[in-house]
Symmetry: C2
Subunit: 191 residues, 2 copies
DNA sequence: AATTAACGATACCGATCTGTATCTCTTGAC
DNA sequence: GTCAAGAGATACAGATCGGTATCGTTAATT
């Protein structure tokens, strides 16, 4: 395994353990044991555990937003349908055995101080996701794209939190139905 | 301070520290240091840290459901207005400096194993809150009270998650507006 | 008032935490 | 082929984790 592959493998292992056990509970020793890579190597790539957490969050930020976009693009062309398709993306995520809630919300729970770099990274991710919803709402020609995006975002976050506890992927479908009705309202208001 | 007061003080301190720093990060040593009570005393009242966490969750379960009910009862008499008033309760919660997200969702993040007693306690709380919404929806004479309750619940959880990161109490108002429109739909469907 | 039993503060236990120092080995350049 | 430089594994360091044993003190009962 090459140097860069080790770094990637380390990150993947860290992401999995952070998501399953939380950021404090998943220790560096556990991550290196699971990945089979030496601790020295880990600390060569990541100066501190905080750096590792930040890298794990950044990786998941890019990956999740890219894959949601890809999923949505192949699911629909109409912007309104794209907004609704984001909930199908959620449903697939919830059905994954590795789903244990939103890793960003979990990070915000464990590092809730607003001055913490980890909290900052979480806030950044959430802003980017919201911006994506707003982009879709704007493309749909909705009058108040920002407000619509916030509502879609609320339903997303709610679905994730509910599914985290109920472990029921159908939660996404209920959020989608609510979104559909709210979007219909928005459209008819300016028909 | 009497024995029972010490136990209560210990619990209050634990609740505050768990919410601010998370369940793993808030160690027993920190809790006793902050409360000024001996470790022996803590372990006389709570066999393990897990017991303390469970007690903290149960306390917050009772307290939060009781206070939400009290808030709602003094805010409105009509069941639909009561459902909407739950969002005003959220707004007041978000505005509290001690707000750091839902302590139950945070617990589920750190103890995500479905066999964990802590996870079980979280699931119980969430079921009870949902049952309250369903009770209100039923009292409102809505056809599908269960589905309505689930939607209200989605908006609640979403508002909490969003407010945890944005620290914006107005989030509750946006969720309330969405709820109002969805409830109007429900009512007009059977008008 | 004497005795007993429970309680609280301190010191300590082994395990685990993040992070580092050491020492060996591999690998690439000349 | 030789030497140098960087990477890996191991052992360890200091701090903190959850939990306990010891011991002094308080408080209730007879």
């Amino acid at each position: 395994m090459k140097r860069i592959e080790k770094k990637a493998h380390l990150l993947e292992t860290a992401v999995a353990l952070f998501n399953r056990h939380g950021y404090h509970a998943a220790g560096v020793d556990r991550i290196i044991a699971e990945s089979g890579i030496a601790k020295t190597t880990l600390y060569r790539h990541f100066a501190t555990k905080e750096d590792l957490i930040l890298a794990a969050l950044r990786l998941q930020d890019e990956r999740s937003r890219d894959s949601m976009r890809a999923f949505v693009d192949q699911a629909a062309t109409d912007p309104i349908e794209k907004l609704l398709a984001t909930f199908d993306y959620l449903e697939a995520w919830f059905a994954d055995r590795a789903f244990h809630g939103c890793p960003f919300v979990s990070a915000a729970s464990e590092y809730g101080d607003e001055t913490d770099p980890i909290f900052h990274e979480v806030a950044l991710h959430k802003r980017l996701v919201l911006a994506y919803f707003e982009e879709l709402a704007h493309a749909a020609g909705l009058a108040d794209a920002k407000r619509v995006a916030e509502i879609i975002n609320l339903l997303h976050e709610g679905a994730v939190a509910v599914a985290q506890v109920t472990r029921d992927p159908a939660t996404a479908g209920r959020a989608k139905e609510a979104a559909r009705r709210l979007l219909a309202d928005e459209q008819s208001a300016f028909a």
